[in-house]
Amino acid sequence: MTHDISPPSRARRRMLGGAAALIVAPLAASQALGHGSFGPVQPALAAPALSLSDMNGQRVALTALLTGRVTALQLMFTGCSATCPIQGAMFADVQQRLAADDPRLRLLSVSIDPLGDDPKALRAWLAKFGAQASRWSAALPQMKEVDALLDFVRGRAPGVDRHTAQAYVFDRQARLVYRTEDMPNPPELVRLVKQVAARG
């Protein structure tokens, strides 16, 4: 059975569609402003001048970790048993899907617990998920800079884990360009990272 749309019916649909757009568009815009911690970041935001410890305990600027690469960053801590194992599994899945791709597509797990974590704990956490150093690394901010990092990515969450399970995508200029939903689907995150890389 086919459904013919007669000209009057099409015109009516267009009119209703137009009316709906007039009603919905302002709502969508206000909702987008109200829920600004998910989706494209426009304009892109330059990463803040934070200093982190890498997995060897060396101090390195966040911008230095990000510049020249497209990076998916996640917040975590090794003592977190609820969402962090899921986040680790997600990045392991992404790593596998990126196996044949440009090594400048990177994964970075940043601990929000400088008191409980150290480079050794981060190395052990990454090893648990089969992280390959060429693709996936971890870092630890200074205690005094954790709040600044959480504020910048909008990564705070209520409850014992204290952080979201989003991924934050940075372009090669170390600018935050996308905040994903909580627990993004790995194939979607891969697609997003590649899209950002393709922009140049």
Binding site: S81, A82, T83, P85, I86, G88, A89, A92, D93, K128, G159, V160, D161, A165, D182, M183, N185, P186, P187
Partner: protein, 147 residues
């Protein structure tokens, strides 16, 4: 006698096909809860199942026999699971008071819908498990003792 207790007794008599020979449902349930036996869980919208280490119940839930204490609840990412909190009339997630039974518990694990028909957060994986394993988990929780 409460239906939940009756179910436990029935499960104890029948045993669990997912369990080893002679293994009680509550023991099997304990293994599943604590990760000694794998559970297959997937985050809604994801195309791959999580590794068992990321989907075990104990990662997010504490269990006990007493009424939930604020300290225990605060230390647990997911709801504290006690016989009272599961089988008592409790308002959950903004819904009306509701009680779990074995069927409601299994529906929650598989579909993420609680007994008041409220969908639980996405951070709770949806599980693929046999009826026997689901009932073993239920038996373990309703007979749980304060750790």
């Amino acid at each position: 006698m409460k239906p939940a207790v009756l179910l436990s007794m029935l499960l104890l008599v029948l045993g669990s096909p997912g369990a080893g020979a002679g293994e009680s449902p509550t023991r099997r349930g304990s293994e599943l809860f604590n990760g000694g036996a794998p559970l297959q869980g997937t985050i809604v919208g994801h195309s791959s199942a999580l590794p068992p280490s990321a989907s075990r119940c104990v990662n997010c839930h504490a269990i006990g026999s007493a009424a939930p204490s604020s300290a225990a609840s605060a230390a647990s990412f997911g709801p504290l699971l006690t016989p009272q909190s599961l089988t008592g009339a409790v308002a959950r997630r903004g819904g009306p008071p509701s009680r779990y039974d074995a069927a409601a518990f299994c529906r929650l694990l598989r579909q993420g819908v609680d007994p008041a028909w409220v969908v639980v957060p996405r951070s709770m994986p949806r599980y693929v498990l046999t009826d026997a394993d689901c009932h073993a988990l239920w038996a373990h929780l309703i007979e749980s003792k304060q750790p």
